[in-house]
Symmetry: C2
Subunit: 267 residues, 2 copies
Amino acid sequence: MDLTRCSLNSATVRGLDVDRVVAAAASNDFGGVGLWRDVVAAVGAEAAGRAAADAGLHVSSLCRGGMFTAAAEADRARAWDDNRAAVDEAHAVGAECLVLVCGGMREVGLDAARALIAEGVARLAPYAAGAGVALAVEPMHPMTAADRSAVTSLSEALDLVDAVGADNVGVAVDAYHLWWDERMPADIRRAGPRILSAQLSDWVTPISGELSSRGMPGDGVIDLAGFLGHLDAAGYDGLVEVEVLSDAWARVPEQALAAAVEGLRGI
Amino acid sequence: MDLTRCSLNSATVRGLDVDRVVAAAASNDFGGVGLWRDVVAAVGAEAAGRAAADAGLHVSSLCRGGMFTAAAEADRARAWDDNRAAVDEAHAVGAECLVLVCGGMREVGLDAARALIAEGVARLAPYAAGAGVALAVEPMHPMTAADRSAVTSLSEALDLVDAVGADNVGVAVDAYHLWWDERMPADIRRAGPRILSAQLSDWVTPISGELSSRGMPGDGVIDLAGFLGHLDAAGYDGLVEVEVLSDAWARVPEQALAAAVEGLRGI
């Protein structure tokens, strides 16, 4: 695929600071960068946003808000404060959306986790609207349900977004999380204009830790061209991020960059 | 739970031979054993079945047939031969069902894998019926979709079973594979009398290899009592196997037995 259609997520080149992420993206003709908050925090959101803008790059997303599912009220209050801070940072950095990793079910169980997520997203939506920030609910692979997201399918995420019913709330669709689901093609059609973020990586095995074991595009089993075709058919014309959370690739970020570029070109 | 309602799957005590699996089950008042084919093959299916029967134990399942998804016709022909052998062994050992691990999508892609699985089950069903053997299609966790099962939800498995439409074909429901799915409670109700096998283990993290990283009942996050409640409500009154595929526990099968017994009693 054409790299001007792509965005380089900072997690793919973990260890690089904002300036180096931006330089890496610009020199390879990416259309944007996706940024994680730790990378942004090191220089401040406004400076990070300026660095991207000066290089002609969109900030396709800021990652992440969410984590609504703590059992203790004090922990949920801290999450609320952190979510408002994340919205403010998304505004300051000029991100096209704030990705919400909604939180796992470990502390409260599945049903309560899903209820807390619905409540949390609904509560955050007007605050984000006031800051001009869009919220992208990210359904995640079921193997992350304990500790990252009790929202395990795009079907659920869309039901949640429908229930919240706010113009600035949509979904993030990541091939790594959704590829296995027989419902995915129909769900992407259903999502249509509510797709605020699209992300790619590949499914490689064995899984070595469920959070950071992803593969470069082309190294795994996912039909990424088919996934992009579903996005096209749904009318999505935004940037597509390459987001490869991988403890192995994180040891060699420059090599990860080269592999990501090659992988994307091969789709 | 009452151990007379439970069955000890040989994979939980990997390394023990049939006689020791049977002795372990009998001495702990299990109602049955679930057997893998390698364990059965070491003594022969009739001898294994006699050992269980002499100890007053049901053979709740034989694992496994399936693996219908090879790309090469010669490999699929070998799988067909192996599936017929598995049916014959299930008959000889007196298993209440043959569990089908249907095969991953790595070689052919998701859509073709699902088509090959539907074709394979439909083809095997009459042969199994002739041998008096029930086939239990096992939906597996999406993290196993590449190499073990392109059938990733009970919804899909039930659609497949409906399409095959044979009296001797049903499903195996395993809490480890299904716990995260919002559709699971309704799917178990839908499954009703088509539930031929029920299995338990627990979800523990981090995942260290997607095939053999399971936890003992009670050590993880799954609401196993809730799962059993869904089975009860669906009218399932068969044995519930404890099947803990775990490289860690496999190193200490006697300790695994003790932990499984304690875990089941605690549900």
